[in-house]
């Protein structure tokens, strides 16, 4: 459990955040506010200039850039003290986006354990249903090649199809038997109508004609795993992805919940 807590990125984020807060507030001992243009900032200004103008700035230009930056910082500091930020929803929204961006970035690395996934699956089981999976054999009949399709089917059915199914029927570029084939895969090979029709017929006897995109088939279903709720093995990749998306949402929510505890949030009542 303790290990889990240590791995919680949200926790890291909060801890680092409060450390920063304490650090910043403890250094802020002087009464006079400071505006510092760091060497890093100067380098950045120079680089930006170079990129847009395709040359390095002259000394005068660099001085102007620095002066601009000083003014921007001063104006901002002063504006904050005047309470201008308070009512500016654009600035507020921007800060919020930055915080959520950092938060999301730290959550990106979550690697759920198998237990996590198991729990997740249990609580969301309805979202993960598996359509029927079959083992079946079939005989293809191409209506274009028979003057009387029904007569041909009757003739086929009078044989012992269990033995002859591989050698009767019409030519098709398709296997005559399938094991472990999903409903989606059947639809891909035979058309969506066929996969639907298959679900309605009973097991362990030759049945048909069943319509497909190519004609009709006599079908023998050897085995069928009916529609069911998925197991972890069946949907692990998808679960992993959904878990992360969900974790991201939850983290944002609990981040705000946490903040709501740290702050006294009041919504004033209307009259």
């Amino acid at each position: 459990m303790f290990k889990r807590i240590l791995q919680e990125p949200l926790l890291h984020f909060l801890v680092v955040g409060s450390l920063l807060f304490f650090y910043l507030s403890s250094t802020d001992t002087e009464t006079k506010s400071q505006v510092t243009i760091s060497q890093g900032k100067i380098k950045q200004l120079t680089a930006q200039f170079t990129k847009t103008r395709q040359r390095t700035p002259s000394d005068e230009e660099l001085d102007a850039l620095i002066e601009n930056q000083i003014r921007e910082d001063l104006a901002f500091e002063h504006g904050v003290q005047m309470g201008l930020v308070e009512n500016d929803s654009i600035i507020k929204r921007r800060v919020q986006q930055k915080i959520e961006f950092m938060l999301n970035d730290s959550i990106g690395s979550i690697e759920p354990s198998l237990e996590d996934l198991e729990t997740y699956l249990t609580t969301h089981k309805e979202q993960y249903t598996i359509e029927p999976v079959y083992a079946f054999r079939h005989i293809y009949i191409n209506p274009e090649q028979h003057d009387d399709v029904n007569a041909f089917i009757l003739e086929l059915q009078s044989n012992n199809l269990d033995k002859s199914y591989r050698n009767v029927g019409d030519s098709m570029m398709m296997q005559s038997e399938f094991v472990d084939i999903s409903t989606a895969h059947i639809a891909r090979l035979f058309g969506r109508k066929f996969s639907k029709n298959l679900d309605a017929i009973s097991l362990k006897r030759w049945q048909g004609p069943v319509k497909s995109g190519y004609g009709v088939h006599l079908v023998y279903i050897d085995n069928k795993i009916p529609k069911h709720l998925a197991t972890l093995e069946e949907v692990e990749t998808q679960l992993r992805r959904d878990f992360r998306v969900d974790a991201q949402k939850k983290a944002v929510n609990s981040f705000y919940d946490e903040l709501k505890v740290q702050y006294d949030v009041k919504v004033e009542e209307g009259q």
Binding site: Q97, F101, E144, S171, M173, F190, G213
Partner: protein, 616 residues
């Protein structure tokens, strides 16, 4: 100290994770059963998301913003597109998101709150441009960078290579995340979007594995495609395998199959080698038109005139010319084969959509809801408006799909099929087509499986070359309709060669067809008929065949001339998307676009080369 060790262990464990990931994927790939006779898989390799700056408006309209969304859509998830629930209906087998490499960094900044550059005034304006007019104004300003005299440049708000790399990583991560060997294949890919003298010389770049560069090579680095190939050569030296897939030759202004380098020098062996090595197929058809042939220059091809997007010529001075079309290009390539022993235009045929809505592989005519964000988002705009700088929206089509013949659905197997050109393209329906050639193939096949076994044993499949044939080759062809779609009308073989005078020649042969029709006294095959009810936009499969199979032996084959053949499969007539649109919205049919179309599939060619003479 504690912090440091924590970070180190974190880094180590991520590396370990990545390693086990790679191992388990190899194992998964290995365990998928192979079919030596190969299966057909359908997918697409040309699609934009919000990481393409020109698609961003589309994204605000559709809600599909990033590669992850596009892969979900391709896998069949229902997404909200332009405010409505929309789904591809049936999943693709493989897909590659290909955002324009030129401005992926800027796009990343634009859509990622907190990312460097997000706050720039221009990207703010972009996000705030809500009306179509405002968006076009923004785009007008941006295109100054796009269409610089010396090629595209980064705008002032580009926040540096880091953003490009973050965007590229986003594309790679999505590809990794969605790869399910045996079920759904993804690729690391992007679009290199070079425009030279107004000609569209774009290429999609497709990597075989996850051994990848830090960032893609874009037209900002160079608009000269030979520089791109040289970069690809460097990637190969680092162990990558990578392909470039050109497209939209119909907008290439005669530069897609050139006689010279971009700087005007005549092309030489180096060019021939590079192009032949890296460009193994061409995207035949997409939203902005089918580039096989056009009626103006192919009067004798009665199936020409299919989704050619004729209003392309009204924009950007795109005068129609024969040299812009794929059939001309591949036959022209034979001349180089004779002269240099290398064919630079030895191209298989693949498909793609090029939709800028993030709706991967959304090619069904009865489900088309536009492809260019707000420009064609409603039935009204699709009927009346234009896709700026390109064409009239009513001239668009939903795009095409690639079919590949591969032993299994894995990244390696699908990529190799592209490399070997054992691929085909369909105008949307999942039609399957096989083509084999050889001196000793059995004629008049009656069993599809036997035909394929015979083809692989005694001949070659589509995409291959036969050198030094001594007698007439036989071709065997087979096609199967889309399981959920319309029946087939006919299979044709298109023969192209260069005669002794060095002139291009071609011939179209109807090989096999439905409904027991006979060739008439003019040598024409009568039309298959038409079941489309224009009032309801419905058709029936009462005509046509669900499967066609046959053979053709070319008695006119000249062993001394380089020659190629490809198959073309036609469906029976079905409603065009504009007809479905009209019926759905209770509007009259459009007068100047066809109400019905014959959808089709094209196989990659098979090439014949006379026995090599000593080169000069």
């Amino acid at each position: 100290m504690i912090k440091l060790s924590m970070i180190t262990s974190l880094v180590l464990s991520t590396q370990l994770l990545a390693q086990t990931d790679a191992d388990s994927i190899l194992k998964l790939e290995h365990n998928i059963p192979s079919n030596p006779l190969k299966n057909a898989y359908f997918g697409e390799t040309h699609m934009h998301t919000g990481l393409s700056l020109d698609a961003l408006f589309g994204m605000t309209a559709t809600g599909i913003r990033v590669p992850d969304d596009a892969y979900r859509f391709a896998k069949g998830e229902t997404m909200t597109v332009s405010g409505k629930k929309h789904s591809i209906g049936r999943p693709l087998d493989f897909a590659a998101v290909t955002d324009h490499a030129e401005y992926i960094g800027e796009s990343y900044s634009a859509i990622t709150p907190g990312a460097p550059g997000y706050d720039s005034a221009e990207l703010k304006d972009l996000r705030n441009a809500k009306t179509f007019e405002a968006q076009m104004r923004w785009y007008g300003k941006f295109s100054v960078n796009q269409r610089g005299k010396d090629g595209p440049t980064h705008p002032s708000y580009y926040a540096g290579a880091k953003t490009t790399q973050s965007a590229w990583k986003m594309a790679i991560d999505a590809a990794k995340e969605h790869y399910e060997p045996g079920k759904f294949t993804t690729f690391a890919a992007y679009e290199y979007s070079s425009v030279v003298r107004g000609g569209n010389l774009h290429r999609n770049i497709l990597f075989r594995d996850m051994n990848l560069p830090d960032q893609p090579f874009s037209a900002i680095e160079s608009t000269d495609e030979t520089k791109l190939w040289k970069w690809m050569e460097q990637q190969e030296k680092k162990g990558s395998r990578v392909l470039a897939i050109p497209h939209n030759s119909n907008a290439g202004k005669g530069l897609m199959f050139p006689k010279t380098y971009p700087d005007g020098r005549a092309i030489d062996e180096r060019y021939l080698y590079l192009r032949n090595h890296f460009e193994r197929s061409i995207e035949m058809m997409q939203v902005k038109g089918n580039s096989e042939v056009i009626k103006e220059f192919w009067l004798n091809d009665e199936m020409a005139g299919f989704e050619n997007a004729s209003s392309l010529k009204n924009y950007s001075e795109r005068t129609p010319r024969k040299e812009n079309y794929v059939r001309w290009g591949v036959i022209e390539g034979l001349k180089y084969q004779s002269k240099y022993g290398v064919n630079p235009f030895k191209l298989g045929f693949n498909g793609g959509t090029d939709t800028h809505n993030g709706t991967m592989g959304d090619v069904a005519e009865d489900n088309f809801i536009g492809a260019h964000g707000p420009a064609d988002v409603s039935a009204k705009t699709r009927r009346e408006d234009e896709v700026p700088a390109w064409l009239l929206a009513k001239d668009e089509n939903p795009g095409s799909l690639t079919g590949v013949w591969a032993e299994k659905n894995t990244r390696g197997a699908i990529w190799d099929a592209f490399y070997n050109r054992e691929i085909f393209v369909t105008s949307g329906p999942r039609i399957k087509v096989r083509l084999f050639a050889g001196e000793n193939l059995s004629k008049n096949p009656s069993d599809a499986k036997q035909m394929v076994e015979d083809g692989y044993t005694n001949g070659v499949p589509m995409g291959e070359t036969i050198v030094g044939l001594k007698k007439a080759p036989t071709f065997t062809v087979w096609a199967q309709k889309d399981a959920d779609g319309a029946n087939l009308d006919r299979i044709q073989i298109i023969k192209g060669w260069v005669d002794k005078e060095g002139k291009q020649q071609e011939k179209i042969i109807n090989v096999t067809w439905s409904d027991k029709r006979s060739i008439d006294k003019n040598g024409k095959l009568p039309k298959v008929g038409n079941t489309v009810d224009l009032k309801t936009a419905k058709y029936t499969n009462k005509i046509g065949s669900s499967m066609l199979m046959g053979s053709f032996t070319d008695k006119e084959f000249d062993v001394t001339l380089p020659t190629l053949y490809y198959a073309r499969v036609l469906e029976i007539p079905t409603p065009r998307w504009s007809t479905y649109d009209a019926v759905r919205n209770n509007l009259p049919l459009l007068k100047d676009v066809p109400a019905v179309i014959q959808e089709r599939a094209w196989s990659s060619p098979i090439w014949f080369t006379p026995k090599l003479k000593k080169l000069k």
